[in-house]
């Protein structure tokens, strides 16, 4: 008991040390454990349950839009990885290599997939012959490995879980539409289910995925003003198709190359949720992905009738919500802290006096507001409060982003805005030249995050060189 109490109290305040606050939460909300494999984490039941909820919602959305799940090998032979030039240059420096099977050296070394374009391409080349075979809309849930130098739980780890969609189409237009469709699906998911506002846009040339013609992305702003790329959707044109020979006969009996996309979201979304909604009492989880939506805490549970009533409520509410009842002998105070740390959206308290009055108390995690609710109205009220909480989380995150978005017309304005208001998104015009992109980063510390689809004409000239501007760009420091 004493040990547990201490644990709950020990969280660093986010104003003191945001990075430590984050680390405290991932450990103390029982999301992860470290392992003896550097940069790889153990995702514990509570953290994995968040991922399962993310998976369930995304998977249903993928299937509604006609996608099918498959499973590809986790290994890629070196020669296969090398087939598309830009792709291998981008990924070879950061892959893990398998060189031995048992005690024998392999004839050809295999990398553990960092992403599976090459495997999907090889398969598509095998199975696609005619326009009747198109489109193929495949998705895979799996883990991938990238040999990162510095790692942080969820945000950047050597192994992470993700989904990777890989689609091929008869025309460039269809493929571009798919790239946009999936980016919008990602954005809607983040905003509606994770309560996290995102900017939709396009990466600059220097920031594109290795081998892509265009990389679309969604960028979110964390509580500390740093940006986080929450998902990407790539348009490949027919570059991979030519490298791998993925051809089909069209309606006029002519051989054509397919046009291709890929798109992915990962367990880093969990990190994004923590840093978007968490506070100094711990995690705050959006109801859509919370493993426990309502925790029932019996008050004075030794008194006759209290536990019976609590069990009865649990059985009843479990039909509509994800419910946990904590009838352990820990004190109510300890339990309050514990489920605040775990970010459970609603706490339901029921004690002898409540039972007498035919009511219970609901407490919102984010605002700690209390509601006395007649038992017969519980389902309606829980539903209403969960929706309100979700709306508040979104609005609070949006307000944070707006407060921390700075419109700048010169490099000095950028430096001043960041110094005075702290990290955030900088909106500024850009000429399209990579040298300016690099110079902005070097001189102000913020890199290009994306060229948003919603363009504004802040001025006519590049924030860096003063030459005519081509795009408005979101700049920021990134996780």
């Amino acid at each position: 008991m004493a040990e547990q109490k201490k644990m709950v109290e020990e969280i660093t305040s986010m104003e003191v040390d945001f990075a430590q606050w984050y680390t405290d939460i991932v450990k103390k909300a029982d999301l992860i454990d470290y392992s003896s494999v550097k940069g790889c984490m153990v995702i514990r039941p509570y953290g994995y349950a968040v991922w399962e909820n993310i998976q369930k919602i995304l998977d249903a959305r993928f299937k509604e839009t006609g996608h099918e799940n498959v499973y590809m090998p986790m290994f890629i032979p070196e020669s296969l990885l090398q087939k598309e030039k830009d792709h291998v240059e981008g990924f070879a420096p950061e892959v893990a290599w398998v060189t031995h099977g048992g005690s024998e050296p392999l004839a050809e070394k295999l990398c553990v997939r960092p992403t599976s374009e090459t495997l999907f391409c090889e398969h598509y080349a095998n199975i696609v012959h005619s326009y009747r075979d198109l489109p193929k809309l495949y998705n895979q849930w799996c883990s991938v490995v990238r040999w990162e130098k510095t790692t942080r739980p969820f945000l950047r780890s050597r192994e992470f879980l993700w989904q990777e969609g890989h689609t091929i189409h008869a025309t460039a237009q269809e493929a571009v539409e798919e790239t946009e469709r999936m980016l919008n699906l990602y954005a809607d998911f983040c905003e509606q289910e994770l309560c996290m506002p995102v900017v939709r846009g396009k990466k600059t040339e220097s920031d594109k995925f290795a081998g892509a013609e265009d990389t679309y992305c969604i960028e979110a702003l964390m509580h500390d003003g740093k940006a986080l790329q929450a998902g990407t959707s790539h348009y490949f044109g027919d570059g991979f198709a030519k490298a791998f020979g993925i051809q089909f006969t069209d309606k006029n009996n002519t051989l054509q190359y397919v046009h291709q996309t890929s798109w992915g979201m990962t367990t880093r979304l969990i990190g994004a949720v923590i840093m978007s909604h968490g506070d100094n009492n711990g995690l705050v989880l959006p109801p859509a992905v919370a493993p426990i939506q309502v925790v029932i805490l019996p008050i004075a549970q030794h008194k006759p009738g209290v536990l019976d009533k609590a069990y009865e409520l649990k059985a009843r509410l479990a039909k509509s919500f994800r419910i946990k009842l904590d009838d352990s002998d820990n004190s109510p105070g300890w339990k309050f802290s514990e489920y605040e740390m775990k970010g459970v959206p609603l706490r339901l308290e029921i004690g002898p006096k409540d039972i007498e009055k035919g009511q219970c108390v609901l407490v919102r995690r984010d605002t700690r507001e209390k509601y006395f609710v007649p038992l017969e109205d519980l389902e309606t009220e829980i539903d209403r409060l969960l929706k309100e909480l979700a709306k508040s989380l979104y609005e609070k995150a949006l307000a944070n982003r707006e407060r921390r978005t700075y419109v700048c017309r010169t490099l000095d304005e950028i430096t001043t805005a960041l110094a005075e208001n702290g990290d955030g998104f900088v909106k500024a015009m850009w000429c399209g030249d990579e040298a300016c992109e690099d110079a902005v980063k070097e001189k102000t510390g913020v890199g290009s995050r994306c060229i948003p689809f919603a363009q504004e004409q802040l001025s006519d000239v590049c924030v860096c060189c003063g030459k005519p501007a081509k795009h408005m760009v979101y700049w920021g420091k990134a996780y």
Copy 2:
């Protein structure tokens, strides 16, 4: 069209060449594709959908029995693998080794997990302190790698998908109960959902999992009389706990070691389903895991009203069953063959005459029996026929097993039974001596499959040496 027609016809008869029949089915029912990584397969949408259905049912059963999902790293450092002596001896010869990250050699080589006991143990040692922390009932869905020399799709591949449960308990008794509980859960799943009868038993000493005190297993008999191990459940005692230092303080404040189990089922279940129920027209899928339970085939679909009626039925039936409507311009004959190949349990035909009569035709995949069903009774009739089909599949597989189970009292009887009736299970008594176990295999070709829980006293003496018998054993040739 011509090419597709040929494909459907090209399956090898199982009486001619059972292995080729199997290979034909996995390819022609679109379950897998080969990849350029030897021994690793691409699981295509139709094959993966079977696995998703298996996962969904098993995962729900695991959760009902109190288990939680987690995710462990896919890599195991060499030193961690070596902590339990028997375990490393069993697995080291068949693991894939990662020796480089990017271009740099690793300080310590990592193996790609062949199974995750060592990782779970390391984590449990971190998080378990008191009897209040027990039991821990964890499960993981992932892929694992074993560097097999000869490989076959689903049955034996270098990478395969599985679940691995890992639990720790305060007492040996609880751990043994868990080992049995999960074996029984597996057996029920195979019998109820996959329609596949299994023998429940225990492996002999020589056949135990590396590091286990006891390995329980379920063994099924395939159509060709070969045995297939469908799932295993291991009791570890406190061997791993001692090697990894997993200790807890009990109620008397004494330090104790935990008692441990692990259990797993894999994608080889799909191979078992193929070889239990398939026939010379292709796959036959149990309704519980069939991606399509009913395929709707419009007859004379160019005639007015036919497609409208078919779409209407699809919308209506999709509320209760997994439905596909094939309105492509392929001929009905081609479609019949295609969905027979894919093992869809029921075919629903609807044409102009049926519509006039307010009925449709249902055809069972296994028996090809036809049923004329009034449209208003469709849900009830489909439900009834799916249940009947499942029951028939089970009974047919059971009859095959019974016909191919031979009670033998001497080695000669074994040889004769197999020669006269073909491969199958041999039931024979055994003294418990490993030398006799080896001798039986060498002289008759059948190895010990398991010591069944349901023991019979066939004779008093060992089938091999004539000394007093300890157990009745199931013997067989295994996949």
